[in-house]
Symmetry: C2
DNA sequence: TAGATTGTTAATCGATTAACAATC
DNA sequence: TAGATTGTTAATCGATTAACAATC
């Protein structure tokens, strides 16, 4: 099953299934049928079973799916089992608000680098959820990304500044 | 052409075409070929022409499309020619920041109502871009929506509060 | 075993693509 | 007219659906 490509339309629905499964687990469900899960996700049970079949055979005929196990398998497929590294560029009000937001960590994102252009800000230490990170110059961006395998960049600079820089690279 | 249903996949791409056309107009283009526009939108020219053909025949063979005219036709199809009414519920920091954000108005949204639960806030007048609107109680929500033909509700209340209310309707 | 539910099949449906006639 | 580009056709490709054999 690992060699086959999963259809785009299926991949697009996996996050929905994952979210609904997490909330099912929160409300105490241990097992769920394709019919129940499909209804909760707003799709048909046939489509849901077809989608899940691309991941593998994780259900039990006559019983349904184990909520924990299926949640994990989808998370694994989506690359949610290890956190995604994020670099935040721009530590104004918005940037500082974002890095202290605990919702990122709980959803599998981890801030691994902070960048700012202002000399007074570079070198300062900022609290990021459970750690403290030193703000660095944009000159170090490439190294930060490489060292931490960062995959996502969040740009929280003023709009006009962003504009300026992209026109004078 | 007005009777036929436009495929979902096409409708999903129209906002992209619209945005790119607006920026082409900003940069002074008067005419654009399907090849140029498609490249700028990240699709193939065949797909673009097929998509546009569902709206009508708005191009000129041998020449291309008039940027202004095509922009307008897509805007009309998307219902962007008259603003969408928005009601904002919750006038804390986030709600107040949103209603004063000029980006909504320039993108075809118009705040037509403000709701808050706090008795001290109800009855106060808030500046909304170019007008001033009186904050009302949630009891008036239905009337506000009906009177202004509001189509979008933005809920900017604390998460736990939102939770509470949905469990005790 | 009997009932329930999955995983898969095959048919249908919708979207994409390449090619080109129409035509400015 | 000659060159360019649209709008449309028909073939291909991918997604959805309903049905049901497999099996817990």
């Amino acid at each position: 099953m690992s060699g086959r490509a999963i259809p785009d339309a299926t991949v697009a629905r996996l996050p929905v299934y994952h979210r609904v499964l997490v909330s099912l687990a929160d409300s105490g469900s241990h097992t769920v049928s394709s019919e129940e899960l499909a209804t909760a996700c707003g799709v048909t049970s046939a489509k849901l079973r077809k989608d899940l079949s691309y991941l593998g055979s994780y259900g039990t005929r006559g019983v349904g799916y184990d909520v924990q196990f299926l949640t994990y398998q989808i998370a694994r497929e989506l690359g949610l089992t290890s956190p995604w590294g994020v670099v935040v560029v721009g530590l104004g009000n918005l940037g500082r608000a974002l890095v202290s937001y605990r919702g990122f960590a709980s959803r599998g994102f981890q801030v691994v680098g902070l960048i700012d252009s202002h000399p007074d800000v570079v070198g300062t230490v900022v609290s990021v959820v459970d750690r403290r990170i030193t703000v660095q110059s944009v000159d170090n961006l490439r190294a930060i990304v490489a060292d931490n395998d960062a995959r996502i960049g969040v740009i929280t600079t003023p709009a006009d500044f962003r504009c300026c820089r992209s026109r004078r690279p």
